[in-house]
């Protein structure tokens, strides 16, 4: 354990303004990518359902 208390941890030895954005940006990118991938899947599923519905209407 390198830290004595929370404040010390958050201060990162004076490098907080560089370390935390680096980790935060990474986390943000992960969150955005997860949301984007799930949205893509939902979008595909929606268009598939729409397609199947319209095919049901077709006489063939």
């Amino acid at each position: 354990m390198q830290w004595n208390n929370w404040n010390e941890f958050l201060a990162m030895g004076g490098y907080a303004q560089y370390v935390w954005p680096a980790f935060g940006l990474t986390a943000l990118a992960v969150v955005i990518e997860v949301i984007q991938v799930r949205a893509k899947r939902r979008e595909v599923l929606r268009s598939l359902h729409a397609q199947f519905e319209s095919e049901k209407g077709d006489p063939q």
Binding site: M1, Y18, V19, L25, E33, K40, R41, L45
Partner: protein, 245 residues
Amino acid sequence: MNTQKIHWFKFSSPQNFYFLAGRMWPWFAVLATVLAAVALWIGLVMAPVDAQQGQGYRIIFVHVPAASLSMFVYLVMAGWAGFGLAFNTRLSGMMASALAPTGAILAFLSLATGSLWGKPMWGTWWVWDARLTSSLILLFLYLGFIALQSSIDDPRRADKASAVLALVGAVNIPIIYGSVYWWNTLHQGASVTVKGASIAPAMLWGMGLMTAAFWMYAITMTLVRVRAIILDRERHTEWVKHAVE
């Protein structure tokens, strides 16, 4: 193109791979989460402070995995692309296009964290350091791949054209990197190196585990994305109808 040959590659059928990927991705997601948690604990809490760079060095726990993986993902992408061109398998192109966005995000992260690391070390956000410049060029290559893919309407043609581009890019990467490093040494640019001797075991562990976590994450994203792509491209087949309903 001999159709009999294609069946030898068992899971290269999009249908089989769709279900296989569906079973696999949750495991990779769990692995990614666990590995990332452990790596964060080691990297942020356990690892000792660096003698030269103070606590600021902890950025490498995300920078190095992102940088190495962004490079590697491009090669994997080119590998799938080349396989697809050679054997005319449908899945290969889908895998390549599923890998590209993740690779581009990793290249961007490598660039952004590299810049955040450079600021306290060099005093400016951006230095035309060989590694930063290479990351930037890699990001351009990813963007070119994605742009070409999305501007061709016919998916089969888009796959093939971007496969050629990915292969050309992969052949050029060593040349580009080599020239950029050479250019950098000529101009005596700034460069930050982590000296091998100063790396404590905890640092190595943190970096190794985080790299593994990034790998698992990239695999998870690719599998989930390729499933959506498969459904989209195979929308007129019976199995998709059954799978969705």
